[in-house]
Symmetry: C2
Subunit: 193 residues, 2 copies
Amino acid sequence: MQALKEKILAEGRVFEGDVLKVDSFLNHQIDVKFLGEIGKEFRRRFDGCEINKILTVEASGIGIACIVAQYFDVPVVFAKKSMSVNIAGDVYKAPVTSFTRKKQYEMVVSKSFLSPEDKVLILDDFLAEGSALLGLASLARSAGATIVGAGIVIEKAHQQGGRLIREQGIRVESLARIASMDHRTGKIEFVTD
Amino acid sequence: MQALKEKILAEGRVFEGDVLKVDSFLNHQIDVKFLGEIGKEFRRRFDGCEINKILTVEASGIGIACIVAQYFDVPVVFAKKSMSVNIAGDVYKAPVTSFTRKKQYEMVVSKSFLSPEDKVLILDDFLAEGSALLGLASLARSAGATIVGAGIVIEKAHQQGGRLIREQGIRVESLARIASMDHRTGKIEFVTD
């Protein structure tokens, strides 16, 4: 998605440790109008697919999922990263290691909101090592739901997540795929499609 | 907002400890189309107000803020609940005690995304003891931003948060105000406006 690549080049900043910050429009401040363009693009890519639910994980996936869901006319379910009194009863669980937070946690979703009838599009802002996405796929499978595909805003294609997910037979559509980043020069290169 | 009250009565469940679960449409599964109606209602209530940014806090505020922001044509900034490598540099901080999670944490927002030029509408799903909303107001004040008001989906009017915020001179618009709940009978009563 050309407009996204341009926005990453204009506003993204590369930090040591292979960290790309796009917090001006994607995961701290959110450019809601631009997310609308992202929604249209996912709709175009998954056109003709039967999807009745969008599945993501808190926190930064939620905004993207909600805006994109409008273009599919379906509800969002977001997995939570810890148990709170707001989740009652039976849950599906999956272990996750966060690349950015450098810690392990459990992702949970209430059994009330994922079922074998569901045809799920999984969405997230980033795909790097793939832990969150693998966790979401695991939750969907635990529920017996069909995984129609995964929509990713930014895939760090030099990390293993994309390969791991695609090896599971899951269709992954990433709107920008990063080939390399250099925090010393700030240079970001994309995979040429 | 009548449609919201009806949805709370139809789908909300009351649990011991003064907990109202609306996880079928607001904060676990998200009824995105219904959030659009909520967006229109906030737009109507804050009509004529100059607002250039919506401020909320992760996680369940984000979806609401993003959908509502479309009706104001402004970006969203969401405060984060812990430091991660995704937040660099200077931040504003405020302490928060979560009613549902029964723990204390710090809420942070990057200084890059809140400034004295900002005219902020604060949004959140619930207002109970008011800790999150007071924290968000504190962040906005730290940045020198103008707080235009606070939009709340569900205010538990029998708790002190609404009073504390209004005593600070902040205009609060709550779309449903709960007067009482009883987990034994499941009965929910609203404040009659």
